[in-house]
Homo-oligomer: 348 residues x 2
DNA sequence: TGCTATGGTGAGTCCGGACTCAATTGCATG
DNA sequence: CATGCAATTGAGTCCGGACTCACCATAGCA
């Protein structure tokens, strides 16, 4: 069923049918009625591919994330999806498994499919040529969750440093001086060797934490800053290692909800009680944080809104408008529950 | 940059450039080299839209789910995505918020965009004309998680009834006779009034439970079968109501992980201890089930594999092959942890 | 030498709408 | 009644690859 079929059925020229169907140009009421009736009778549906072809618009945006299975991106995805749908856009979703090569391929492929814009959660802050190309070639691009310093593309994320600082100060207020940070981030070396890190959202957490430490006059101990805690085993090892230190941490900040889960699992295996033995604060107010024992103090992030905002900024760019700002950070908040306690006597 | 540009640059005709680039037909080595060099120099990338236009294939599949934010679909999505990527397909994801109208629109829109196939988790077992049309018009269609009795389309899901039966028997073995089932499913009436339900995956759970009950000679109490437990408040109300019964349940089966979360929250507010006061089994081995207090006994479902299988079956259909079966059910398993205990003395 | 396979090539068409442009019509105005 | 203007319409082109078809050249064969 094509416009030509409809036109024949309606007894008009292809151009007239096309106008009536597309709702542009001038068409007499009579012709429009005939065309619409014919389209209805024939069950005509426009071929969006053909339409995209000469409008140059596909009404589709590409979203590239590291891991949809991760609730964080799932929720952001939902925000993007809702906002995009409101504007009549569809979404092509690509999962990269946090692999830069896959990300490069994905971006290229999406551009080949002529998406109108891209939202990318970059897997790496180092390998960014492909994103720079996209941005420089004028394709609307919004960075999700993570920003890239050297790339002037719009990025939408969470202003996590102040909340990280607040979390740190809350721990210090309870007497903690040995405060650790555990992240799943893969680093080149095993050890912390200064900022920035490969992923800006983790860097921001650490910036806030270090700030909170400095303000309260607590020296920074690089051995308490740990990475590569991905998976239950590695996380268990990291925690066991931390706890075996001559001066072990009395409090731990957990970089995301997956790390938090694995750490809680490790605690259970190690017989560690929260907050009796160790106090804990996790980033991201995941749904199950309220039912842990005890309920977990967390830094809550407006992830859905990050998704919505990212999509809306992209829509602005696609309309040729200037972005609201190059870097948009939505506020995070410390949600105090019961996983922070005073420093254990035995640990002092 | 089009083939025409490349052809001009290489000094050959459009057709030759097209052949060299597309890898079909006969091209001399010399011409191919010149074309490829020109394409490289010009940074040529094929327009997949144009390509799709006359191949009739878009190398894209549409996925329609009720809620990506839900970890269940997130994981299934990951499976679909991985399998699709292996075969060179992209995915257009549409979230319907479990709204049938949105689902109908989504299916139509995806077809207009000429996706090569569709994977749909139908929001309703009643409003299915749109899916029937899709199937009858010959478009490859795979139903995810839920099947529709009257529709002979391929469906891929979990064989949950045997596991539900096992879970029920495990409860009965501990002496439970008042066993409730709580689901978030929206029903017409408030009360249970027989099978089937509007969503086959929930029906299957109940079928298995009722079977387990019958086999052990326990009478079925419709007042213990509850729906519409969506959101924390409604779930709290449902639980409070169940517990206020003259003969309250001593064990509860929870239809999915979100219901489980809300029920655990309600228990905390109500001061109910698991398994001392009430025993619990939840469907879906969500990641946090191992860190609840106590660790929760669950029915584990191979959701990722369901996604992979759904995508692979769709790929078969798209290749014109017969499906492996009309209904594919992957096995579920009872994972026994510590949320089942003997019947409390006070409740007997 | 004459013939046919065969590889290689270019011109041109097709996919299905959007859009340009020129032509036609109707109606109002001078 | 002629002219002007706007509304309406149809023919045809374009978007960018895929693909058909006719044609040319060379090689192989009788």
């Amino acid at each position: 069923m094509t416009v030509a079929d409809v036109a024949r059925e309606a007894g008009v020229a292809k151009a007239t049918a096309s106008r009536a169907l597309g709702g542009y140009g001038a068409v007499s009421d009579e012709a429009r009625d005939r065309v619409l009736a014919a389209a209805e009778a024939l069950g005509y549906r426009p071929n969006e591919l053909a339409r995209s072809m000469n409008t140059g618009k596909s009404k589709t945006i590409g979203v590239v994330v590291g891991d949809i299975e991760n609730g964080y991106f799932g929720l952001a995805m939902r925000g993007i999806s809702d906002a995009a749908k409101r504007a009549g856009y569809d979404i092509i979703l690509v999962n990269t498994s946090e692999d830069v090569e896959a990300e490069i391929d994905a971006v290229r492929l999406l551009l080949d499919k002529r998406v109108d814009g891209l939202i990318v959660a970059p897997a790496s802050a180092y390998r960014t040529e492909h994103l720079r190309e996209v941005h420089q070639s004028g394709h609307p691009l919004v960075l999700l969750d993570r920003r890239i310093e050297s790339l002037p593309a719009v990025s939408v994320g969470v202003d996590i440093a102040p909340a990280a600082r607040a979390a740190t100060r809350a721990l210090v207020a309870e007497g903690h001086r040995r405060i650790a940070f555990v992240s799943a981030l893969g680093t080149d070396g095993e050890r912390y060797s200064g900022l920035p890190l490969g992923v800006s959202s983790v860097t921001d957490r650490l910036v806030g934490i270090l700030q909170g430490l400095e303000e309260t006059g607590i020296p920074i101990s690089p051995e308490l800053i740990r990475f590569e805690a991905h998976g239950a085993e590695k996380t268990h090892a990291v925690i066991a290692d931390l706890l075996a230190l001559s001066e072990p941490p009395t409090a731990i900040l957990l970089s995301d909800s997956l790390v938090a889960l694995n750490v809680l699992l490790a605690f259970r295996e190690l017989g560690i009680k929260v907050p009796r033995d160790v106090s804990v604060v996790a980033f991201d107010d995941v749904d199950w944080a309220a039912i842990t024992d005890p309920p977990m103090t967390v830094v809550s992030q407006p992830i859905y809104d990050v998704g919505v905002t990212a999509a809306e900024e992209l829509l602005r760019l696609m309309r040729g408008m200037a972005p609201d700002a190059t870097t948009l950070r939505l506020p995070a908040a410390l949600v105090e529950r019961d996983s922070i306690g005073p420093v254990a006597v035995s640990a002092q």
